[in-house]
Assembly symmetry: C2
Homo-oligomer: 633 residues x 2
């Protein structure tokens, strides 16, 4: 989601940059896209004609303040793929020089981005040219950003009219997926954070699958033309429902909209765009208003966090405060508790029987409140022990006991693995789950707590299952890179899972279940170590960046708490998915098998995961022996 | 300078944190300082008495939202130096446990800072305790910030009443400088960015030298009491002139003010502080309004930048734009040019003689404008060549020639070292100086340009001299640390100079001249390599962090352009000083000699500096062979 919504305009002809910007702004555009060098200069350079040295070759930089160049002008580079892929040395060289000059001028002006057309067919030399200029490894223009422009799908005409004209023309030719064009280009010239795709939205939208895959790419802009609009009953331009939906989903990954403006001669030729712009802003705003979870998740989109280690580290007041606000999670717990209380105390014993409820890992007491409210709602009698190891949270519990709860609650300042209670519990309640279910060591903690559960006691949650799904996300994969820690293994950043609210990703195949844990255990000595393999089938050509992880947990009876996409508890924001990266992305073809291997291992002091892939291509085991990442016991 | 001005209040007794914060805010305070744990709990812990487990030991964290704890409460830690330095194991251990508990609770609440008293005498074990908790190397509370509170100078009474009572009491005893107390504490427990000094402002201010040295430390707050105020004629509280000046100078390094509040019983006992606060805000605001250069320098205070390399890299439009705005620099150039024109063309030849002026490194033409204006002002005739190697800036020059200058100016798109002009110049003007004078390779560039100067030609500037001065700045030295580059030499970050608008530093001895360059050279083959040694005498006990560098340049005749503190051209902001760090700070005693060695070296492709210190303690040569930093030719 962009911090600020931006709508730009693409101008074929700009006689005066100052007027063009002023006029565009008056119509509501934030950005203009236009060529940087004079057409004459660019043509001469390409054809090798001598240049007039007295003639300025580009815009007058002083015509706009730097602040405008830096924010509001996107430079259009010449469409030179035909030349860069030529077999003739001079043709290639001149195209390279022209690109160099244009990118140099974009760098000089400090433009936020440039645009370059990308066509089907060969693009390797173009890829090298761009890569060599924008890479930080000696690239001369390493702060220039290049938006590679291509259609969402290549129409058959484009393909046939393209550079790669060797193919047979026939009716049953499959349109080349433009995603494959992009994928080759960016895989050859791997300029992370410098090259991005920008897409022309066709009037006839492609399949949702195709669109979903593009939503896994770091698409920076969508180009729309007037042709995409239709008139509503009042005669105003609107977009068809499906187009609205598609544009919103691109907003959601931070793309902006650029309107393609045909050259016109009227002095206020941008003015008639005003209603289009207002319509697009409306789409953006309404998207936000419709989703209440957004206010909690804003700013976390695709942002990598290290998973919490609440067992080893004490949570801080601020962290408790955020999680206590989840409206859904505690409703589910309260519902589960009410059901459990009714299950344990028949109606006719409700005035005589008192249950012992232990909240293990009570934190600052949200589950205590739920217990008391549940008991109240079903008119059952309970006695609560609040067990908490974080001394600072115990201080809060003591305050609450003193001023609110009184004798109903006994506060135990102790690690549940070391406590020796005087009586046993009918119900043990905990909230020890992480994004991947067991990854905050709920199994190990509850092994300890199970010793003080009565024979017929209940544990809430009663089970949880982790799920994985192969995903493509060049953005998230790139963002893992800087997490490198020189004191650890070379690839430690790729051998660590991250908690991330994933937006800019593509699900290559639906999630499948991995590890299951049930409480209480039938055999208390059963190990919490695991090894599972899972097989998926790729739904399209794509790139495997790693695995997204989720969990589902049955609290009690039919009360399910889930962050699995198929069953996500509505409005719950306490957990974002987890992401297990793989070091080198794997190119995957439609229909190919992806076989994943996951281990859960442990030592005396630590628990950790290891993971690997054996198909379609084997990769080394990640995080062997927990060398890059462990969870402290 | 703090982003936002903040005034806090120090409260001895706080019965209710919520009311204390609300009341303080109503009176205009942003922050309150108070103890975190109950007095009873802290006393019991220190004395080893058993604690009541049912009693909350600290504030109720839910009494304030996290946002308030995180921004508005500074926690006061118990004054335990006497105990931590005790020879009795149990006394030390209990003090350590109390500190641990208090810092743990500060961490839990997410407080922006804590306060701990620091007294003269032994403090090494206290230093270890704090260091071990806040360091990122395994420290358990590595996000807790500790403000060490001490007076600006220890009064005699303090010293005699202090822990270190072994000294003879006599009248001629020198008051221990509190700076030395701080210096020992922080040198032993080197917790950068985690421990800072905060100072009690005495009613009788110490010498300016003492204050200046404190201004070299990262002082975070100044405590003032009502006693510092006097009444003005209207009966309002004001501060004496010198106190005003001192407080403003601490504002300037980012310190905030904390008022010490005596416990009083009236319900609105903060209200009478309102006029003090308003007075302090007024001091802050007026300081800003009085200094016009601030708007250009805001945000650059103590911020490290890599020096520009305009010879190797092309400057960008934005950079040109900023520098072109300097009101002073171009006035000086224009004045120098006018004098030079009058010098070269006698009054009686002004209608017949035309001088050839070459502006070498013309950029986007500010010196061209100055030349034309100077010629106009003294009614002399000139013909200008504008020589520029940056093709993008040439584009600007061509626009200006086409639309403004016409035939008066010839634009030459060429590196001055490679140009072969058809005629020679009467005057060559350049602006190739860096913060250290020659560090942007003005000498090497002008060696090339000198070949096309007439025998009796003039070069502007005609000379420049670099200056160095030994400085103490723990803040800037610490900020050098993260500039480490794994691909370079281990200490590369300390073997590189930085351009920095220094605020939080202390000048141990006044600057002295280092390298001198004159143009034109009498012997064109004379090398630009240099080696000089400079000796200084330390004005006070201090810590040598490195050397500040400045330059003075005579443009022509008596027109001096300078960033040397003694002669700084008024209102000129184009250059900040340069800083040459040394790897390990050196403890320096008052009166000791500091002997610095600086080399300017060169190879075919590069120029670089090397530097070292031989007294009071020798250090290895920094940047030998330019292994960490070079300037590209």
């Amino acid at each position: 989601m962009p911090k600020k919504m931006s709508v730009g305009i693409y101008l074929e002809e700009v006689p005066d940059i100052q007027h063009a910007l002023t006029d565009s702004r008056e119509s509501g555009f934030n950005t203009i896209c236009c060529e940087l060098l004079t057409k004459k200069y660019s043509l001469n350079e390409l054809s090798g004609e001598e240049q007039n040295c007295e003639e300025p070759f580009g815009w007058f930089d002083m015509a706009l303040p730097s602040a405008d160049w830096n924010s509001s002008v996107v430079g259009v580079l010449s469409d030179v793929q035909e030349q860069t892929e030529s077999h003739i040395f001079n043709v290639r060289t001149r195209a390279s020089q022209l690109l160099e000059k244009q990118m140099g001028y974009a760098h000089h002006l400090g433009l936020p981005a440039t645009i370059l057309n990308l066509h089907p067919g060969d693009s390797c030399n173009l890829s090298r040219l761009i890569y060599s200029k924008v890479t930080t490894d000696g690239g001369y223009h390493s702060n220039v950003v290049v938006w590679m422009r291509l259609p969402m799908v290549h129409s058959k005409q484009t393909v046939n009219g393209a550079i790669d004209v060797g193919r047979e023309e026939s009716d049953d030719i499959q349109p080349i997926s433009s995603w494959n064009t992009w994928n080759t280009f960016r895989t050859v010239g791997y300029a992370e954070r410098r090259t991005f795709p920008v897409l022309d939205l066709p009037v006839d939208l492609p399949d949702q699958d195709e669109i979903d895959r593009w939503l896994g790419e770091p698409v920076k802009a969508i180009f729309i033309s007037e042709e995409s609009f239709i008139s509503n009953q009042k005669g105003f331009p609107v977009l068809p429902k499906r187009t609205q939906h598609v544009i919103r989903s691109f907003f959601d990954i931070g793309a902006q909209v650029i309107m393609i403006c045909k050259p016109e001669k009227s002095p206020n030729h941008y003015v008639h765009h005003k209603q289009y712009i207002e319509y697009i802003y409306g789409l953006y705003t309404s998207e936000w208003e419709e989703d209440p979870v957004r206010k909690y998740t804003k700013g976390y989109e695709d942002y990598l966090q290290s998973p919490l280690q609440p067992l080893m580290d004490n949570l801080e007041a601020n962290t408790y405060e955020v999680f206590e606000r989840d409206p859904t999670k505690y409703n589910l717990y309260q519902k589960a508790m009410a059901k459990a209380l009714v299950f344990k105390i028949p109606e006719d014993q409700k005035d005589t029987k008192t249950l012992v409820v232990m909240v293990v890992g009570a934190g600052r007491g949200p589950l205590i409140r739920n217990c008391l409210a549940a008991a109240d709602s079903v008119q059952r009698r309970i006695k609560i022990y609040a067990v908490e190891k974080n001394i600072n949270a115990v201080c809060t519990l003591l305050h609450l006991k003193k001023h609110v709860w009184g004798d109903a609650v006994t506060v135990i300042s102790c690690d549940m693995r070391e406590w020796h209670p005087k009586e046993k519990a009918d119900i043990i309640v905990s909230e020890l789950l992480g994004s991947f279910g067991d990854n905050e060591l709920s199994p190990e903690c509850l092994d300890g707590a199970q010793t003080f559960l009565k024979e017929d006691g209940i544990m809430i949650p009663e089970n949880y299952t982790s799920f994985i799904s192969p995903i493509m996300s060049p953005k998230i994969h790139n963002d893992v890179r800087p997490f490198h820690d020189v004191n650890k293994h070379t690839n430690c950043n790729f051998e660590t899972p991250y908690v991330v609210y994933m937006k800019n990703f593509y699900t290559i195949a639906k999630p499948k279940s991995l590890f299951v844990f049930c409480h209480p255990k039938s055999d208390a000595k059963e190990s919490n170590d695991r090894y599972e393999t899972v097989e998926f089938e790729a739904s399209q050509d794509s790139v495997l960046s790693g695995f997204a992880g989720y969990f589902e947990s049955l609290l009690f009876d039919d009360v399910l708490m889930s962050i699995h996409p198929r069953s996500h508890s509505l409005g719950m924001f306490s957990w974002f998915p987890i992401f297990f990266p793989i070091r080198e992305p794997i190119q995957v073809k439609k229909g190919e098998k992806i076989k994943a291997h996951f281990w859960r291992c442990s030592s005396k002091h630590n628990v950790w995961y290891e993971w690997s892939v054996s198909e379609p291509a084997p990769v080394p085991i990640h995080n062997v022996n927990g060398r890059s990442y462990t969870i402290g016991l």
